[in-house]
Symmetry: C2
Subunit: 203 residues, 2 copies
DNA sequence: AATCGTTTTAAACATTGTTTAAAACAAGTA
DNA sequence: TACTTGTTTTAAACAATGTTTAAAACGATT
């Protein structure tokens, strides 16, 4: 049996917090060990290396946060309502974990060559159903014919980027944390309307 | 006189390339010295520390790339034409330096607490003229009344974020470098039209 | 209480950013 | 030339990093 309740989990939790807060490369193993209250070498005992620990944490974060989003995309909601729900849930999720975007961005830059092998990433890719829906509505004439890749990128950009530049936005507008939250809250209405507007046939 | 042509510049150039490519924290001083063909200790002789060298490089990159953008924002172009030019020039600039966005994103996460003191950043803030223009056009009824902060964030998001997730977009769509360039090229028309559309009075 | 596999520990290792003190150099001065 | 002065370069050492190792401590089974 384990001597203490669950050493592996303690390492995992401490590292998750530190990685999100300070970034992987600026978090030392000794810092993780100290926060978890364990011996330095136990990190290498349970996870083979710091990089391996990071991979595990990254996978967990992506999986935990992407499942509900994928469910919405693959649901049989109407297109406009689906867009509204997706944006709403996505922004709420990032509001709960505002460091997630910057963290993922940093990772995309940091491990560019390893992206393809990071299985967790591909779980974000299930847009087939959503893509088909846009194309069909286009054929029916209910919306403008739209490049689905562009549209999805537009949607992700409007949702996620503001979190990545949170510091800049707060600094420039002298926002408090509450004011930034309010700003983000407003985007839950604004972004879907903007996206839907861009889909409606030209008047 | 300097023994070799310009050691300081050689360090600066080598570090710039490596920082953009691999990120600051994953670039060692010995690697910089090796690439620049100089002794290890010269980095600390010319720049006081690696962090200091990074600050100098970051300032240079921001200044070099932001001047033309600020000029456009403060010009007396009509609003729609100004938006078209801004997006066009910005995307061209990022196309020439596609690692810039990820680099800046990583920095925003990495040095969150130092952002305010990074003077270079504030040079991106000169949006007063642009903001005033949007408000005035709104009053005149030429466009919808729009929250200027939201609009500027929308614009930046649609311009910059696709570069940050370049790897994902290429991976998902099996894009070659050329195809990604073409994709980005298309956004130079798409993004301004989407933004302008969102400003036009509801039909 | 003896044994076995698992978990934890302290110590050492190579590599990182940084500092130091001496050497090498260019330019001016006698 | 020979000598001095200030700048630039060098090699070596430093503390801190991620990692490995071998031994100790532990819990469970016999």
């Amino acid at each position: 049996m384990a001597r203490s309740k669950n050493t592996e989990q303690k390492i995992f939790d401490a590292a998750t917090e530190l990685f999100l807060e300070k970034g992987v490369d600026r978090t030392s193993v000794r810092e993780i060990a100290s926060k978890a209250g364990i011996n330095l070498a136990l990190m290498n005992y349970y996870f083979r290396s710091k990089e391996n620990l990071f991979d595990a944490i990254f996978s967990m974060l992506v999986k935990k946060n992407s499942e509900e989003l994928i469910r919405i995309l693959n649901s049989d909601l109407g297109l406009f309502e689906k867009i509204r729900q997706y944006v709403h849930v996505y922004i709420d999720m990032l509001s709960d974990n505002p460091l997630l975007v910057s963290f993922v961005m940093a990772i995309l830059h940091r491990s560019r060559e390893r992206i393809t092998e990071m299985k967790a990433i591909s779980s974000l890719y299930s847009t087939d159903q959503f893509t088909k829906q846009i194309l069909e509505e286009g054929k029916k004439g209910n919306i403008r014919r739209t490049d689905t890749t562009h549209f999805f990128v537009d949607m992700l950009s409007l949702i996620a980027f503001p979190f990545a530049i949170k510091t800049l936005v707060m600094d420039k507008n002298s926002f408090s944390e509450e004011e930034f939250s309010e700003f983000i809250h407003e985007r839950k209405e604004r972004v879907p309307e903007m996206l839907i507007e861009s889909l409606k046939p030209r008047s």
